[in-house]
């Protein structure tokens, strides 16, 4: 089926996310206006106005009441989802690279870039204690001295955060003690994205080293590798079928005249278990920066460097296809 093309951003997409039910799609880009869309028809529901720089990350809590965005304007902001009104603003000393709500939605996390002489930090707030936000006194500040955080998500049950780093490290942090629990180095280059499977027992990482990898959430044991020839910017696990989807492509700065064919800007479908590629979906005119499965697994969306979001519904052939074993 022909995908819906959403052109609501002037610049490259940085992250897209569905809410839990999958009726809304949240997107942010290098322009300063994060959007929210109806996933059913691609109509724009609204924008979150206020940021003054590229927005690197966006997250929505489990009951779709609040939205969180992090930006290069040195703020992380909390929005009311239904009205689009800004609720809170956290001022930081450098760009906010990643942000997220915990499972319960009560704990907030964001990380900052190690630029402008600032160190990379992870900050945790408990929204139940209003003083923490008001006085900008986080519940916990974890310095990240070794390598800066390039991707981070809350683990299951508000207990852990999993961070991916510029040097390829993946670290599991205990949020009660503020301690490192596991640290693995399976990727050789920067981790661009981390996404959980639906039940959060495993997660997939996308790396600049041209691979995506699957890990056990508890132990950070490496389980599978999905290989491509291009940097992988984003990867997601299907909630319905044993499939994963990878998005990426040649970085625009690496090739002067990148034709779409050399760049390999296709989204790639792999079998989750056998790690065999079984399909490619063309469309973007630049690298894919972010992908997300529709929560029912019947479609997916991708956001590209070209400024478009493409909303795909899978054909019936997709559901009929199976690898023999």
């Amino acid at each position: 089926m022909k995908p819906l093309m959403l052109h609501g951003h002037d610049r490259a997409l940085t992250q897209i996310k569905y809410n839990r039910e999958g009726d809304l799609l949240f997107s942010c880009a290098k322009d300063s206006h994060p959007n929210v869309w109806y996933s059913i028809n691609g109509e724009r529901l609204g924008t979150f106005e206020g940021h003054g720089g590229a927005v690197w990350c966006i997250d929505v809590d489990w009951d779709t009441s609040k939205v969180m965005t992090g930006s290069a304007d040195n703020t992380c902001r909390l929005w009311d989802c239904s009205t689009g009104v800004q609720l809170e603003q956290f001022d930081t000393r450098s760009a906010v690279r990643t942000c997220g709500f915990s499972y319960s939605g009560q704990l907030l996390m964001y990380t900052t870039d190690s630029t402008m002489g600032q160190k990379c930090e992870m900050r945790i707030y408990d929204s139940r204690d209003s003083a923490q936000i008001k006085n900008n006194e986080p519940m916990m500040v974890l310095p990240m001295p070794a390598s800066k955080v390039t991707s981070a998500v809350w683990g299951p049950l508000d207990q852990t955060v999993i961070s991916g780093h510029e040097n390829g490290n993946i670290i599991q942090w205990d949020m009660k003690e503020g301690e490192m629990v596991h640290k693995v180095l399976d990727h050789s280059k920067q981790i661009n994205d981390i996404q959980f499977s639906k039940d959060m027992t495993m997660f997939i990482t996308a790396s600049k080293d041209n691979t995506a990898k699957l890990f056990d959430t508890q132990t950070l044991t490496h389980k599978k590798t999905y290989k491509t020839e291009r940097p992988v910017n984003s990867a997601a696990v299907s909630p319905l079928k044993p499939h994963v989807i990878l998005g990426g492509g040649q970085e625009a700065m690496d090739v002067t005249t990148t034709s779409t064919r050399i760049g390999k800007f296709d989204a790639r479908l792999f079998n989750l278990i056998f790690a065999e590629e079984f399909g490619r979906i063309k469309g973007h005119f630049g690298p894919i920066n972010t992908v997300a499965f529709q929560p029912d697994g019947r479609g997916y969306s991708s956001g590209g460097e070209d400024g478009y979001i493409r909303l795909h519904q899978f054909d019936s052939q997709y559901f009929e296809f199976d690898i023999e074993y």
Binding site: Y103, P156, L157, D158, D199, D296, E324
Partner: protein, 704 residues
């Protein structure tokens, strides 16, 4: 204590004795001091220690010998003509330095003995004189033999008896043709990847190629197979190494510093190597010809210009090799490595020459000059009979193409209408092309001219086995590929012209009939597989940005490659069958080069081959079964592997599921008791919401 006393006493006595002596001497001569050693003095210092530096400079009997040369075969003259001879000698030998002394030994009757001694100022001058005058032809009877005088001892010491050289132990390299014994007749190829750091030999097995040998830093630049595939040559700063046999052991090494290019003789007997390292004038090193079996250097050559490689072209049987010099072709013969008949073949304004691929025959051409037309000549070697000379008028350029069987020679002639002399050379206007086909096997070599109404011919290729030829012509985007066939009695038939193609290279199957039209590099890797029997295009496909196409030696497979040397991303080689069906895609980090291992010519007789062709169906069936079995074995293995993977996966997922289930209570607690494990799982919490979308706008004009 006792020892000290002893010494003290001794010194005392020696002092005393000296004093006594002095007193004695004074008695005789007061002015002369006494230098004599005391009687008790033990002389334990030898001269060497005392004045070694002086001794080293002590004149020796042989001093000056190094500057002396002996000239033999000098005319024997009487006293009356001695002056004249001396003048001649001085004139010749004064070029290398001033002659210090000369000695003309004489017989008792006053005639010179026929040899002379000359002394130069330095051994260097003497050496230079020897190098340059040894073998100097004074006249018909007298050729100088010049030697260093110091070498005479060496030559004198040669024993009269001939000593048999020690027999070198035979080195068994195993069966060098081992790869031909493969029961499945799989072919091999070499690949270089990781930007040249790794080299591997791969067997093109069905259904997946298998790596046979893989070594890091096997070569420093690239590799080459010998023409029959026996040996693999690797390049190193210090020379060439050859590898072969079952496990690719080193067979031999040729030390040639800075070697860049090599060439094998077709018989695999000799290796030609080229190095741009500055040459020694007296000992040519730029191009060296080696004997592969013995590892001996056969001859070195100077080389001013290596832009044309191979510099030496070998005749098909390796008996002769030739190079182009200014206005001549120098043909050398093996195994003597001397110039054939001691003289080059003079050709005024020679442009190009080529050996016939099947006979010892040369083809060369020269352009016209003034009223003289341009000419293509066929010449037999070693007789130097010009068997055919064909003149062409108004020639701008000529290209020669031999058919591999040597039956035909195609000469592409570019003719001009008008010629303009310009500052930067001659400019030709109104160029037309035609082909002249020389039928070599027929009496007196008839030549037929094929007029092609084609412009801008880019590539020409003979069918290696058969009588067809193909060429690419036209200007982009109207590029065409035309096919012609040579029939009996010189009738040339136009088979077909494929129009508007993306092609700049032609690759015939080594067995003929099939051809790949390729648009390499700038044409982004478009491939077309054509069967020229009925001129059907079997497949039109693409290997994006492909830089190379290589047929395997049997004509069953084609490899296409995107080399790191040409293009920096997506370096890979792909294998196709001859029909253009993709069989295997192999991505490789910084992949550089793929080369099929050549095969020697088949040992089967023509009768044998016809018989096999006749029974093709029978063999077909057998091999089809074998292939199927191998494939099913692999797919079975793959399915087995998947099954195993799946089992492991399920075990792990079961653990995950159990863990997930055990945390259900905690999850509920964190989300206000709402079960969010499934989207549909908490219907009671659904909020009904009505959203209105604009679906369609319809305008209906109502009648008033």
């Amino acid at each position: 204590m006792a020892g000290d006393e002893d010494q003290g006493w001794q010194q005392e006595t020696s002092r005393k004795s000296r004093r006594e002596q002095r007193r004695d001497d004074n008695d005789y001569d007061d002015d002369e001091p006494d230098f004599n050693d005391p009687p008790s003095y033990v002389d334990d210092i030898d001269d060497e220690e005392l004045l070694g530096d002086l001794l080293k400079r002590r004149p020796k009997e042989t001093d000056g010998i190094e500057s002396v040369i002996v000239v033999d075969n000098v005319p024997c003259v009487g006293a009356e003509r001695l002056d004249k001879l001396q003048n001649v000698i001085r004139k010749i030998f004064n070029k290398f330095g001033k002659i210090q002394t000369e000695h003309f030994p004489k017989e008792s009757d006053g005639k010179t003995k026929g040899y002379i001694f000359l002394e130069y100022q330095s051994p260097e001058e003497a050496l230079e004189a020897v190098k340059n005058t040894n073998g100097y032809k004074l006249d018909r009877q007298h050729t100088f033999i010049v030697n260093m005088f110091s070498d005479f001892e060496k030559y004198a010491a040669v024993t009269e008896e001939w000593e048999q050289p020690e027999i070198q132990p035979y080195k068994d390299h195993g069966n060098l043709l081992h790869w031909l014994l493969d029961p499945h007749d799989y072919d091999q190829f070499s690949v270089i990847y990781e930007g040249g750091d790794r080299t591997a030999i791969i067997t093109n097995s069905v259904p997946e190629p298998t790596v046979l040998e893989e070594r890091p830093r096997w070569t420093e630049t690239y590799v080459r197979w010998s023409p029959k595939g026996t040996l693999l040559a690797t390049f190193h700063q210090r020379g060439i190494a050859l590898w072969g046999g079952e496990t690719f052991k080193q067979i031999s090494r040729f030390s040639h510093t800075g070697v860049q290019l090599i060439d094998f003789s077709p018989c695999e007997k000799y290796l030609v190597s080229f190095s741009p390292v500055p040459d020694n004038r007296d000992d040519p090193q730029a191009v060296i010809i080696w004997d592969i079996r013995s590892g001996m250097k056969k001859r070195g050559f100077h080389c001013e210009n290596a832009s044309v490689w191979p510099i030496f072209k070998w005749s098909h049987d390796g008996r002769y090799f030739a190079r182009m010099a200014s206005d001549s072709i120098s043909v050398y013969e093996t195994p003597s490595f001397g110039l054939l008949d001691k003289k080059s073949i003079k050709v005024q304004n020679l442009q190009e020459f080529m050996w016939s691929p099947s006979d010892n025959m040369l083809a060369y051409w020269r352009p016209g000059e003034g009223d003289r037309p341009a000419a293509v000549t066929l010449m037999k070697i070693p007789s130097r009979d010009a068997v055919c000379v064909k003149n062409f008028f108004q020639v701008a350029d000529i290209k020669m193409h031999w058919q591999r069987s040597g039956d035909h020679l195609c000469v592409k002639v570019d003719r001009f209408k008008t010629k303009k002399e310009e500052k930067d050379g001659v400019k030709y206007l109104g160029i037309t092309h035609n082909f002249s086909i020389f039928r070599i096997r027929e009496k007196e070599i008839p030549v037929d001219t094929v007029d092609v109404k084609a412009e801008n011919i880019m590539a020409f290729a003979w069918e290696p086995v058969g009588t067809k030829f193909a060429f690419i012509h036209g200007e982009a985007p109207r590029i065409c590929v035309s096919f012609y066939n040579i029939k009996k009695a010189g009738h040339v038939e136009h088979l077909n012209t494929l129009e508007k193609r993306q092609a700049n290279h032609l690759f015939w199957s080594p067995n003929g009939r099939f051809i790949v039209l390729a648009g390499l590099r700038t044409m982004s890797g478009v491939l077309e597989f054509v069967d020229t029997l009925d001129m059907t295009v079997m497949a039109t496909t693409e290997h994006f940005m492909a830089s190379d196409v290589e047929w395997d030696p049997t004509g069953r497979y084609v490899a296409t490659a995107v080399s790191y040397w040409a293009y920096k991303v997506d370096n890979a080689y792909w294998l196709w069958n001859f029909q253009g069906k993709i069989l295997h895609k192999q991505q490789m980090e910084k992949f550089c080069q793929i080369l099929w291992r050549p095969r020697p010519p088949s040992l089967l007789t023509p009768e044998h081959i016809t018989e096999i062709k006749k029974n093709m169906k029978k063999y077909n069936a057998r091999f089809a079964v074998e292939d199927k079995m191998r494939e099913s074995k692999v797919s079975k293995e793959q399915i087995e592997a998947r099954k195993l993977m799946n089992e492991e996966w399920n075990t792990w997922r079961a653990q995950c599921a159990a863990h997930y289930a055990s945390e259900k209570e905690e999850r509920l607690a964190l989300r206000r008791g709402i079960d969010t494990d499934d989207i549909e799982g908490h219907v009671e919490n659904f909020e009904e919401e009505t959203i209105e979308f604009l679906v369609k706008v319809e305008e209906t004009i109502l009648d008033e």
